[in-house]
Each structure stands twice: as structure tokens, then as C-alpha cells.
């Protein structure tokens, strides 16, 4: 190294950069590169676009909590016209599906044990006699046996059967009351004070057969009093109304969190992060650039979910679509932030993937998508306040199904924004610490 070479060399001048350039050029360059790599990798594209569509279709159909066509074994020991008619009526409802007839309760139990049926209905001998007698102390009883390994399905089917038979019993009591009333009117002729009928007597006669005494002399004209709940927003109580927003929430989480966490881990693993970190690019610019394309893909996945929900599952979109996208963007901040956070604690893609699963499972289970938060133990319920999935699925349901406006979702939206802000901040701070 002679002195000449020193003189030949031009003094150092940093390349001229405008403020706008240095603020936007780097994230844009990273985003462009990321998008290019993603579009070029058919497997990643499949994960990002095709898998969500398929999962939405499959889960939308499979995660159906409506109980119908439950395999049922029937034991009709009464074997009268009444019992046969009642059972035919029960099966016609399609909640239960008769798969076998048995001759004894033991035989029916055996079928339950073998798993050939989930519910067994035993109509005992003398059932129709009890039904017609309608004696409160000795009501017409049936036995319903239920396979407890699938409590949800069997429970619903079993109680449907019980409800049906109680209804039959109640109907029979009413018929009997009507008969009695007829005979009493004949006896008493046009006697006076027919007008004083107490409400409680009417209710008892209509709904609760056990408390209705057939020998009540004052029961004149049995008035039908029934409770008919009116379900708002989802009158047919279709599971899809609940599941499509829920699945959209889970899909966005899975897609964006896994891809972000593995994307950064991949750069760390392959050594490309090193080359990027010796450039003047700032950590936040790198992160922003890496997140932008996946936020875009996440919004595309939402569009996909809305299309499938509308055209395949007939789920209405009653609220504003721009609002849905805006809320989703906030949600994506939390899922992408989570992915980034995972990547800062993972050295390899495999670690990132496993850590992602580890975080996502409780996230989904504690979100209220699968099971209502109200039925979780009271100590666990406050934990769900920290769960962005809870807030997002709540908002999507409100906006899609109830047509809620921005004012009506401010509470959960605020909670979601706080989750996102905290996650993103922690992730960036940790990333700066671990990048070097």
C-alpha cells in the first residue's frame, strides 16, 4: 500500500438520500423482495391462499354444531298404537335417526357400548295406559340412555327426546282436562261465576302437567299459554353464522402469524439477515417491509372468507364492509406482531413453527369461538381479555351478523388496538436486541 493509492482514493461521501427516500425506500424494498419471494414459492402461495379457502369450506361444514340424524336405538316394550305413533313422530323430526330396534334395555345398552347408536329410547310396558290416565303422581315415563363420550351431541339428542315425550304427556293432561271440563259443564249447567280463572291455574294446566290436578273443579276453559322465544339476527340458529366469523379469525391468525415468524426465522437460519443487517436499514423499516405484504395477503384472505361465507354458507354481511377491513387491519397488527415476537425467540424455522402452534392453540381455545367464554371457569375468564382473538371474533360477529356500526364496537376495538400496540412494540424492542 503505497502513498499513491491513498491519494488516488476519493474522500468518503455518503450517498445522497432524501428524507422521504430513507423513510420509505427501505421498507418498500423489503416488501417488494418479500412479495417477489412469496409469489415465486408455490408452497407458500398455497398456504396463504388456497389452504384458507379449503379450510373455510371444510371447517364451515364440519364444525357444525347443529345436531341431527343422531343414530338411535328404539325399545318399544309398550307396543301400542299410541307408542308406535309417538315414536314415528319423534323420528320424523330428523334429530334422531332410527338405526336399530331392540327388545330389551340390555340389548339397547349393548348397542350403545358397541358404538352403533348414540341414544337409546326405552318406552316401558304400560306407557300408553299411564299416558291416558294422566295421574300426576304416576306420569307416563320413558327412559332415554345417552352415550356420554360425545356429551354435546348425545345430550342435545337425548333432551330433544325427553322434551318430546313430556310434551306428549302434557298434551294428554290437557285433553283429559278438556274432557273433565266438558263433563263438569254438563253437570253444572249454566251455573255462575265462570269468570274467575287465575293465571297460575292456566299456566299449570298448559305447561306443567305434574302440578295440574285433573280434579281441579275451577278449571273451566284451559287456555293455552306458551313461551315462544324469538331469536334475533339468526332466527334459524344456524351454526354457520357463528362459525364463519370464527373461522376467519382463526385463519387470519394462522396464516399471518406462522408466515411472519417463519419468514424472519428463515432469514436468520440461512444467514441472509446478516447481509441485511450490515446495510444502513433500520430494524423498524425491515420489520415494516416484511409485514406489509402479509398484511395485504391477510386482507385478501378476509375477502375470500367473506365471499365463501356469503355464497356458500348464506351468511349475511349486515354491517359495513370497509369497517370490516379496517378492523381486520388492526387485528393483523396483533397477529403479525405476535409472529415477529415468536421469530425473536426462535433460531430456526422449526422452532418458530412449534412456538407458533404453542401460542395459537390456547389463543383459539380461549377466544370464545369454539365454546362460550361465559361457560369457562371464572378464574379463566379474565385471561380472555388479553386475547386479541376474543375481541376480533366478537367484532366480526357484531359487524357481519348484527350490522353493528363503529360506535357500537368501540370497546372491543379499543381492546384489540391495545393488544396490537403492545405486541408490536415488544416485538420491535426484542428484535432490536436480538438482531445483532
Amino acid at each position: 500500500m503505497s502513498n499513491e493509492t491513498h491519494e488516488v482514493m476519493a474522500p468518503y461521501e455518503p450517498p445522497p438520500r432524501s428524507l422521504l427516500q430513507s423513510w420509505l425506500a427501505a421498507p418498500w424494498a423489503v416488501a417488494k423482495k418479500e412479495l417477489r419471494q412469496t409469489l415465486r414459492d408455490p408452497r407458500v402461495m398455497a398456504v396463504l391462499v388456497i389452504a384458507p379457502a379449503l379450510q373455510l369450506l371444510v371447517l364451515g361444514h364440519a364444525a357444525n354444531l347443529e345436531v341431527d340424524r343422531v343414530p338411535t336405538v328404539i325399545v318399544d316394550l309398550d307396543d301400542t298404537t299410541d307408542s308406535r305413533r309417538a315414536l314415528a313422530e319423534l323420528i320424523a323430526d330428523d334429530t334422531l335417526r332410527e338405526v336399530a330396534r331392540a327388545h330389551s334395555p340390555d340389548e339397547a345398552t349393548a348397542l350403545l357400548v358397541q358404538g352403533r347408536a348414540s341414544v337409546a329410547i326405552v318406552v316401558p310396558d304400560g306407557w300408553s295406559r299411564d299416558l291416558h290416565r294422566a295421574v300426576p303422581t304416576h306420569p307416563a315415563r320413558v327412559q332415554v340412555l345417552v352415550d356420554g363420550t360425545d356429551p354435546n351431541r348425545s345430550g342435545i339428542a337425548g333432551s330433544a327426546a325427553l322434551r318430546f315425550f313430556s310434551m306428549l304427556a302434557a298434551r294428554s293432561v290437557q285433553e283429559r282436562l278438556a274432557q273433565m271440563q266438558g263433563s263438569m259443564t254438563a253437570l253444572a249447567g249454566q251455573s255462575a261465576d265462570l269468570g274467575t280463572v287465575t293465571a297460575s291455574a292456566m299456566a299449570a294446566a298448559a305447561g306443567a302437567p305434574s302440578s295440574a290436578s285433573p280434579s281441579v273443579p275451577s278449571a273451566m276453559r284451559p287456555t293455552q299459554l306458551s313461551l315462544a322465544p324469538r331469536v334475533l339476527y339468526n332466527p334459524r340458529l344456524r351454526t354457520a353464522y357463528n362459525m364463519v366469523p370464527g373461522i376467519a379469525t382463526m385463519l387470519l391468525l394462522i396464516v399471518t402469524t406462522i408466515v411472519t415468524s417463519m419468514g424472519l426465522a428463515r432469514e436468520r437460519e440461512s444467514g441472509t439477515l446478516e447481509q441485511v443487517l450490515v446495510t444502513p436499514v433500520r430494524p423498524w423499516a425491515l420489520i415494516l417491509g416484511k409485514m406489509l405484504p402479509f398484511a395485504g395477503i391477510g386482507l385478501f384472505d378476509l375477502l375470500l372468507a367473506l365471499v365463501v361465507g356469503t355464497y356458500v354458507f348464506d351468511v349475511p354481511i349486515r354491517g359495513s364492509i370497509p369497517l370490516l377491513f379496517g378492523v381486520t387491519f388492526v387485528y393483523l397488527l396483533t397477529t403479525l406482531g405476535l409472529g415477529l415476537l415468536i421469530s425473536t425467540v426462535s433460531q430456526t424455522q422449526q422452532q418458530a413453527f412449534l412456538a407458533g402452534l404453542f401460542v395459537m392453540m390456547p389463543g383459539i381455545l380461549l377466544s370464545g369461538i369454539m365454546t362460550p367464554i361465559e361457560s369457562m371457569p371464572s378464574w379463566l375468564q379474565p385471561v380472555t381479555y388479553l386475547n386479541p382473538l376474543r375481541w376480533f371474533s366478537q367484532i366480526v360477529r357484531a359487524v357481519m351478523i348484527r350490522g353493528a356500526t363503529l360506535d357500537e364496537i368501540l370497546g372491543p376495538l379499543g381492546a384489540l388496538a391495545v393488544c396490537g400496540f403492545v405486541l408490536a412494540t415488544v416485538a420491535i424492542l426484542r428484535f432490536r436486541k436480538t438482531a445483532g
Partner: protein, 322 residues
């Protein structure tokens, strides 16, 4: 002004009590326009030292200045404009093409316009990657990949280029080509620091530092280091007896008088402390005779490492005795 200045620079990994001193305390000054080689076995601390110079790994002790700038200080961004790094691992995006990789790093350095275009064309022509612009980086040969990595590290015209084992996994013609590139850069006034495990490459540097277990054990121009070797280098001319080579190797490895030995074709090469030649010749009686040979950098390196090990053993032995 010196291009790189390290003062008692060191880095530990792990927490007490199992601290691994990857780099002990290294002081070093590299003037502008020097081609400086860091030579040492795997795990000597070469990469750690280079990463500290590049501003990627904060030192545990001491300091480093590159072109007068602290790469961990307030002017770190400025330092990044001055430094170019070619990491040891595959540092480019395999699924992007040659041209796209160049464009990406140009964007990260904020390079635009005619200036970028001329530099890009020039780098593509000197690395002869021009015809392969559309090829994915993952489909390049080892040598072409490294040249692309060098091109990416040079886009912003750094003053200092740091290369971590650039010739690892590169075939000999491409290796020579890479070195020719490095010479060209140095002639243009760039400071180049290169690590290598290959002894023959050490002699191509202006100055080399021999590194072992986190310390420099020698630092000088390579020929000067070879000339300073104060031991006899000999080749064993094997006798025509069955299994002469195997037997000779066993004798040489067992002998306390032989400092270092290495296989040489069908024969053996040994380094012996001066004055011990007759004794070693006696040990090899019947298997071969000793013929004096010219010292190479490898002999020097093996001798230096062997002596260090011997000294370390005897000092622990002394401590145990005391």
C-alpha cells in the same frame, strides 16, 4: 489514518462459569489499502473478530474503529456506509435472481439513478456475472455465488471490505479469480480483510495474523513469517520396505522431538527443532532418510500451533507440580 483500529478487542460467549473466550484481547492496526489475512483453524475466533469489525457483534471488552468510526456508537449508520461484508454463510436470497439480489441491496443502501447503473454494470462485468443476471442465486456455482456476494457488498463502494472465508467451497480457477478481484480492489485504495483456513492463500496477503484460540500468535508479512521459522523442515525419503509410510508416520507421531508433521504425497514432511535432526534420523533408521526442504506457510502454522500447545501443557504441568 489507519483503516481499522482494534484496541484490546475481545468477545465472550455464554455466562459464568462456562464462559467461552471466543476472542481474547486483540490489538490491531490495519492501514488503508492493505490486504490483511486472518489465518487460523476452525474455532480460532476469526469470524467473531470479523463480525465485531463489521458492527454485527458488540464486543465484550475493548473497542474497534473503522475509518475512525465506532460501528456500535452514534455514527453506526455512517459506519455501515463504509463497511462491506461478505459473510461466510449463504447470505443472498436463493429464490431471487442475480439482478434482483443486486437491486435489493442497492435499495437498502438507498442507491438510485445513473450512479447505481454504472456501478452495477461495472460490478457485473468485473465479476463476469453479466450473462447470468436472470439466473436464480440458488442455481449459481460456488464461485459465482461468492462473486455475487462480493458484488452485493461492493454496491455502495465501501472503504473497507470484510470477507469471511470467501473461497470456501470454491473451485481453484474461481478461487484465483476471486483473489484477482481482491487485488484489484486493494489497488484502488480499498482495505480488505479476509479470513481463510487455506495456508496457500495466506501468502497472497500483504500481512497475515495467525490466530489460535482467540489470540494472535504471529502477525507479519507472510514471507517474513516463513523466514523467521527457527526449525528444520525435512522431507522423509521413504525406504522401499513394506508399509514404510505407515511405520514412519507412527514413529514421527510418537517422537517428542518432532514438532509437527504432515503428509506429503506418498511421503511425510516433518518440522524438527534445530539440532535434533540426527536423533530423528536415528529413530527413522531403516524406514527412510531425511532430506532438507524449503519451509512453507503450512509448516510455520503447524509449528506455531504445536509449540503453543506444548507450552500450554508444560505450564499446566508446572502449576500442578507447584
Amino acid at each position: 489514518m489507519s483503516s481499522i483500529l482494534a484496541t484490546t478487542l475481545g468477545r465472550d460467549f455464554g455466562k459464568a462459569p462456562s464462559v467461552n473466550r471466543a476472542v481474547g484481547e486483540i490489538s490491531l492496526e490495519i492501514p488503508r489499502g492493505e490486504l490483511f489475512g486472518l489465518i487460523g483453524p476452525d474455532g480460532a475466533g476469526k469470524t467473531t473478530l470479523l463480525r465485531m469489525m463489521a458492527g454485527l457483534l458488540p464486543p465484550t471488552r475493548g473497542s474497534v474503529r473503522v475509518e475512525g468510526i465506532d460501528p456500535f456508537g452514534k455514527e453506526a449508520d455512517h459506519a455501515r456506509d463504509v463497511i462491506g461484508l461478505v459473510p461466510q454463510e449463504h447470505s443472498l436470497y436463493g429464490d431471487l435472481s442475480v439482478g434482483e439480489n443486486l437491486d435489493f441491496f442497492a435499495d437498502l443502501y438507498g442507491l438510485t439513478g445513473d450512479d447505481l447503473r454504472t456501478r452495477r454494470d461495472r460490478l457485473l462485468s468485473i465479476t463476469r456475472l453479466g450473462p447470468f443476471q436472470a439466473r436464480r442465486a440458488s442455481q449459481l456455482s460456488g464461485g459465482m455465488y461468492k462473486k455475487l456476494a462480493v458484488a452485493c457488498a461492493l454496491l455502495h463502494q465501501p472503504e473497507v471490505l470484510l470477507l469471511d472465508e470467501p473461497t470456501n467451497g470454491v473451485d481453484p480457477p474461481s478461487r484465483r479469480e476471486l483473489w484477482e478481484l481482491l487485488y484489484e480492489f486493494v489497488e484502488g485504495g480499498m482495505t480488505v480483510v479476509v479470513t481463510t483456513p487455506y495456508m496457500d492463500e495466506a501468502t497472497r496477503c500483504h500481512r497475515v495474523a495467525l490466530m489460535d484460540r482467540g489470540e494472535f500468535i504471529a502477525l507479519a508479512p507472510p514471507q517474513q513469517l516463513i523466514d523467521s521459522l527457527d526449525a528444520a523442515v525435512l522431507e522423509v525419503a521413504l525406504a522401499s520396505v513394506p508399509e514404510a509410510r505407515e511405520k514412519a508416520t507412527a514413529v514421527v507421531e510418537a517422537s517428542p522431538l518432532v514438532v509437527a508433521s504432515s503428509p506429503l504425497g506418498a511421503s511425510l514432511r516433518v518440522v524438527v527443532e534445530r539440532g535434533n535432526e540426527p536423533a530423528v534420523a536415528a529413530e527413522l533408521a531403516g524406514l527412510g532418510t531425511l532430506v532438507p526442504a524449503a519451509a512453507s506457510f503450512e509448516d510455520l502454522f503447524l509449528t506455531a500451533i504445536a509449540r503453543r500447545e506444548r507450552d500450554a501443557k508444560s505450564s499446566t504441568a508446572r502449576k500442578e507440580a507447584a
